[in-house]
Symmetry: C2
Subunit: 325 residues, 2 copies
């Protein structure tokens, strides 16, 4: 008998739901607005409705469904399946989301996990990390999210807060981070900080072709910085080198900590492509030790927008296999 899994990617704006077979082939998927302002019960109803209609359109019965995986931003008590609170969904307070969803989908075993961990697991199980047992995952966006896989398992840590890789301190005493620390990698290597460092430099009087962008649009984006670097602007190039060096430092430090087979970057900034990847690689080669030949594959994620639902479904399958749910 073929077994089926449902993966849910619950974001502040949209809920994505996918149905997968046991080889993690996508059978059907859908996306609906979250409607978070209507409160948890209404959101759960949408998830359940979406799940049931995916089963129906695939001619599956509820008993073909083996398990459900749900990815969501924290803070949450993941082992208990409870969202403690949510920036994007303020009506979610101590919401037992996992069990609410499960009870609408045949009371099947379900797992709730941090969305960065879910995306990491997706790439690990079905994407660029498919052949490895140890991997580091970093999302480069507004901030920097992380995932760590060791010995074929997600590293969740003693309180479910592991892999907050954006807040590893790489420049002690450096730029202030929103988290209250100074010198976090997020304050250098994220898309937002790349744009912010360029803006600050121009406001401090440095010359750059980005100056016109700032005057015209009142803001500079990360994409602008990479584009102007590509066009030969000196300041933009320096900023981009700083971004790449910060990320390369993380690659070196992760290599010396968990020795992953690969460090996988994802998020908006990877749109910069080789301009980013080759710079990270070059800084890595300069920073890494000469004591012994050792390296790590530095690469981009490959699953794209379905990462969340694939990761959630695949994590549910893994948790079943391991007797965790």
């Amino acid at each position: 008998m073929t077994e089926y899994f449902i993966g849910v990617d619950l974001g502040g704006t949209n809920i994505k739901v996918g149905c997968f077979d046991q080889q993690m082939n996508l059978v059907a998927k859908t996306s609906v607005p979250t409607g978070a302002d209507m409160g948890p019960e209404a959101v759960v109803e949408r998830i359940v409705e979406a799940g049931n209609s995916l089963l129906k359109e695939s001619s599956l019965k509820i008993d073909d469904l083996i398990a459900i995986g749900i990815g969501t931003p924290g803070p949450a008590d993941y082992p208990k399946g409870i969202i403690i609170k949510s920036t994007n969904m303020p009506k979610f307070v101590n919401t037992p989301l996992r069990d609410m969803v499960a009870s609408g989908l045949g009371n099947k075993p379900a797992i709730l996990e941090n969305d960065a961990n879910v995306a990491c697991w997706g790439e690990f199980a079905m994407g660029v990390g498919k052949e490895v047992t140890d991997m580091i995952f970093m999302t480069l966006g507004t901030g920097i999210g992380g995932g760590v896989v060791c010995n074929g398992e997600l590293v969740r840590g003693v309180g479910g807060n592991a892999a907050e890789l954006g807040h590893v301190i790489i420049y002690p005493g450096g730029r202030a981070c929103n988290c209250g620390q100074r010198g976090c990698v997020e304050a250098y290597g994220s898309a937002n900080s790349t744009a912010a460092r360029a803006t600050e430099a121009i406001q401090a009087g440095e010359d750059s072709s980005l100056k016109k962008i700032l005057e015209k649009h009142r803001e500079i984006t990360c994409k602008d910085v990479f584009q102007h670097a590509e066009n030969g602007d000196t300041l933009a190039s320096e900023i981009v080198e700083g971004t790449a060096e910060a990320l390369a430092l993380m690659c070196v430090n992760m290599l010396h900590t968990t020795e992953p087979a690969c460090v996988v970057f994802t998020g908006g900034m990877i749109a910069a492509g080789d301009a980013l990847l080759t710079r990270i690689q070059r800084h890595f080669d300069q920073l890494i030790w000469i004591l012994k030949k050792e390296t790590v594959k530095i690469c981009f994620a490959t699953l794209g927008e379905d990462t969340g639902i694939i990761g959630a479904a695949s994590l549910a399958q893994h948790a079943m296999q391991q007797g965790q749910i």
Copy 2:
């Protein structure tokens, strides 16, 4: 039937061998000179002889022995049980140590592991980490060695080189490290670097009560630095603060990476006691984020000189239980 395990701690100077029951109670132990200059066969003979005589004096037969654990410095191919080469034992080149030892001890299942990992496992399984599933371990001596336990398993990494924690870069562009990198934690937080930073400061003309020590003994030790800091010397205090800050940075960064329940320090420098521990804790409290309440227990190892043999025996038992050997 009671099961017994032999743990071997193979160092350049001495071989320690211990026999333990299945609760890891020490049944008998011995220590013999390594005699590394006589070559691998002679060294293995000493290990085997020691193991057999421990069994004999405990009135045990070879079939009471279940498995053997061996800890040794690298570089080695641990999964294959082969020492590739050894700084302290130059005649060991591609030596299949694990199988050589096993064949002299009833061909029992055996495991070869990095000595820092073995010590880490000892503290994890039988020492200060006994009640936890996630732990970081750092030895503060000539250099800094490390161990990482996640989800109740040692993190060995894809090539057996994980947990080289001494070479995590905490101050990019900082002091040169023997490994070829700059700014490694080992270049600030080890006993040797603590002494070296004091020596360099005095040679650069800074005033300190340590100056007389340097003139008299031609060298300053880490112990001297802590002692003079205790006596109120300004330079010595600054150096010790630098050591503690480097180690605190590691605690913060490990918390954000694997979120261990505890960071356990061991090695010669922990003789400094509370003078070290309270300083690390204070720097940690200053460095850690205010985003959410989160902490990690910072503490010293408790097993003392038997860590190596306990860790090796206990790792052998664990490997058997997990079907790894």
